[in-house]
C-alpha cells in the first residue's frame, strides 16, 4: 500500500537485439529480491507477454479505445468520471501474477488525436507505478514512444545492441538522444550476442557483454517462459551481475 521510490527501467534498441529476453530475465532477477515489480510490454509485437508466460486479455490500447468511445458516446460527462473510468479499467487490465504484475500497451494507436486521453492514461499509470519498487518496460526501438504512450519518468535506460554495425550505430544515436533529453537518467548499453567480434564500441557506456544464449533460443523455440530458466544458467548469471551494478 505504501508509495515507493520507484526505479523505472526501460529497454530500447534495434529490433532483434534481444531487448525482450533481457527484459524478461531482469524481471526474473528482480523477483529474487522479493520487491514489488511491474512489467510493461510497450512493444506492439507483444513479445514480453510470451517471454514472461502471461496472457493479457486487455491492453492499454483497448483501454484507450474504451475511454475514447465513452467520451464520443457521452457516457462520461466530466473529467472526474473519466479519471474514475481510467483507474477502474487500468486495474482490470493489470495482470497480477505471483512475483510480478504485468501490463500490455498493445498495438499503436488508431488514427485520430489521443493526446488528452494519453494524458489521462499517463496520469493513471503514474499513480499505479508509484506503488512498485521496479518497473521494467520492454520498449519499441526508441524512448520517445515509451514516453508518449506509457510513462515519462524513466529512471534507467538500458540500450540493447547486438554486434552489428547498424545496431551499434542505433545504440549510439539512442544514447546521444537520451543524454540530450535528461542528465539525471541512468543510461547504459548492453552488447548482446557477443562472440569473437571486434566491433568498435567507441565511447558507449557499456554495462556488460552478454554471450549468445542457446537456452534462450531453446525456450523461444518451445514457447516457454524465461521465468522458468535455471538460476544456474550462465547467461542468466551474467545478466544478474550486469543489472546488480546498474540498478
Amino acid at each position: 500500500m505504501s508509495q515507493h521510490d520507484t526505479k523505472v527501467i526501460a529497454f530500447c534498441g534495434k529490433g532483434g537485439a534481444g531487448k525482450t529476453s533481457l527484459c524478461a530475465l531482469v524481471v526474473k532477477y528482480l523477483m529474487e529480491t522479493q520487491k514489488k515489480i511491474l512489467a510493461i510490454d510497450a512493444d506492439p509485437a507483444a513479445g514480453l507477454s510470451w517471454a514472461l508466460g502471461v496472457n493479457p486479455a486487455k491492453t492499454l490500447d483497448d483501454l484507450r479505445q474504451t475511454l475514447s468511445e465513452s467520451i464520443s458516446n457521452k457516457k462520461v460527462q466530466s473529467n472526474d468520471e473519466l479519471f474514475a473510468l481510467a483507474h477502474y479499467e487500468l486495474l482490470s487490465s493489470l495482470i497480477e501474477n505471483n512475483g510480478f504484475d504485468f501490463l500490455s500497451v498493445g498495438r499503436p494507436e488508431a488514427e485520430g488525436c489521443f493526446c488528452s486521453i494519453n494524458a489521462f492514461l499517463r496520469h493513471s499509470i503514474h499513480t499505479l507505478v508509484a506503488h512498485y519498487d521496479y518497473v521494467c518496460i520492454d520498449g519499441e526501438a526508441g524512448l520517445e514512444q515509451v514516453n508518449r504512450r506509457v510513462l515519462e519518468k524513466v529512471t534507467h535506460l538500458v540500450i540493447v545492441s547486438d554486434t552489428s554495425k547498424r545496431s551499434i550505430a542505433i545504440a549510439h544515436n539512442l544514447f546521444t538522444l537520451a543524454k540530450q533529453r535528461t542528465q539525471t537518467m541512468h543510461c547504459g548499453v548492453i552488447i548482446n550476442k557477443w562472440g569473437d567480434s571486434n566491433c568498435e564500441l567507441k565511447e558507449l557506456p557499456v554495462l556488460g557483454l552478454l554471450p549468445i544464449s542457446q537456452t534462450i533460443a531453446a525456450f523461444d523455440a518451445a514457447g516457454k517462459s524465461l521465468i522458468a530458466m535455471s538460476n544456474d544458467d550462465a547467461y542468466y548469471i551474467k545478466v544478474k551481475e550486469v543489472m546488480k551494478n546498474f540498478v
Partner: protein, 222 residues
C-alpha cells in the same frame, strides 16, 4: 415511475433470505486515510464486486429511513463476493441540474475520500463498483463499519437530508435485481441530458415524453 420501481425492487429484495438490518449511526465508522489506497491482489483480504459482478447506484427517494442499512448477505468479509449497492437519498430537487449534479456527486463521492485499507474503483457509466480490503483490515472491520463511514461522507453534503443503503453480497441473481433500476436511471439521465441540451418545444412528439412526466413528478416529490 422511478419511485414505484424502487419500492417494487425493495419489496422484492426484502423477501430474500439472509436479510439483516442495521443502523449505521450506531457503529464506529471505518478509520480514514489521507491518501488514496492501492491494494494489490496479494495484499487483498476481501474483494467485493469488480470482475465478480457488481451494480451500484444512487437514487433520489423520499421514503428513506436515515442510517438504515439493509444487508442481504453477511456483514463479515469473505475473500470475494458479488457486490450490489443501492444508496437511497432524500434530497430537495428543484431543477434538472440539481438532480443531475446530485447524482454525479453521490456516484463519485467514494473516490474523493479514502478509508485506511480500502480501495474503491468505480465505472460510473456501467454502474460498477470494485472494492478491495487489505488483509490487515478484514478482522477489525466489516461491511457495516464501511457503510458507516460512507454514510458520514454522504451526510457532509448539505443537501442530503437522509440516506439509507441496501447492500447485496449473496449472489449475482440477487445483485441483478437492481438491474431494472439501473436501466431506468440510465433512461432518466438520458432524458435529462436531452432536456438540458435541446430546446424542445413539442413535448408530445418527443421520444422522452413519458419519462419527462416522471421527471416532473420527481421535482414535485423532492
Amino acid at each position: 415511475m422511478l419511485h414505484l420501481d424502487i419500492k417494487e425492487c425493495l419489496d422484492s429484495l426484502y423477501t430474500r433470505k439472509k436479510i439483516k438490518t442495521f443502523n449505521v449511526k450506531d457503529y464506529s465508522p471505518w478509520q480514514l486515510s489521507n491518501m488514496q489506497q492501492m491494494i494489490f491482489k496479494d495484499e487483498t483480504g476481501a474483494q467485493l464486486g469488480g470482475p465478480y459482478g457488481s451494480l451500484s447506484l444512487a437514487c433520489i427517494y423520499n421514503d428513506v429511513v436515515d442510517g438504515r442499512l439493509t444487508l442481504i448477505g453477511d456483514e463479515k468479509f469473505s475473500p470475494q463476493s458479488v457486490w450490489g449497492r443501492l444508496t437511497l437519498v432524500s434530497a430537495p430537487i428543484e431543477n434538472e441540474n440539481d438532480y443531475y449534479t446530485h447524482l454525479q456527486e453521490l456516484t463519485l463521492l467514494p473516490l474523493k475520500n479514502s478509508m485506511e485499507g480500502v480501495m474503491i474503483r468505480i465505472q460510473p457509466s456501467e454502474y460498477k463498483e470494485w472494492i478491495r480490503i487489505h488483509n490487515d483490515h478484514i478482522k477489525k472491520n466489516n461491511i457495516v463499519t464501511m457503510m458507516a463511514q460512507l454514510y458520514q461522507w454522504y451526510k457532509q453534503k448539505e443537501w442530503v437530508q437522509a440516506l439509507e443503503f441496501v447492500i447485496i453480497t449473496t449472489s449475482s441473481d440477487d445483485v441483478a435485481m437492481l438491474q431494472p433500476l439501473v436501466e431506468k436511471q440510465k433512461s432518466i439521465i438520458k432524458a435529462f441530458e436531452k432536456r438540458v441540451a435541446e430546446d424542445i418545444k413539442q413535448c408530445d412528439s418527443c421520444d422522452n415524453n413519458d419519462l419527462c412526466k416522471e421527471i416532473n413528478l420527481l421535482f414535485q416529490k423532492g
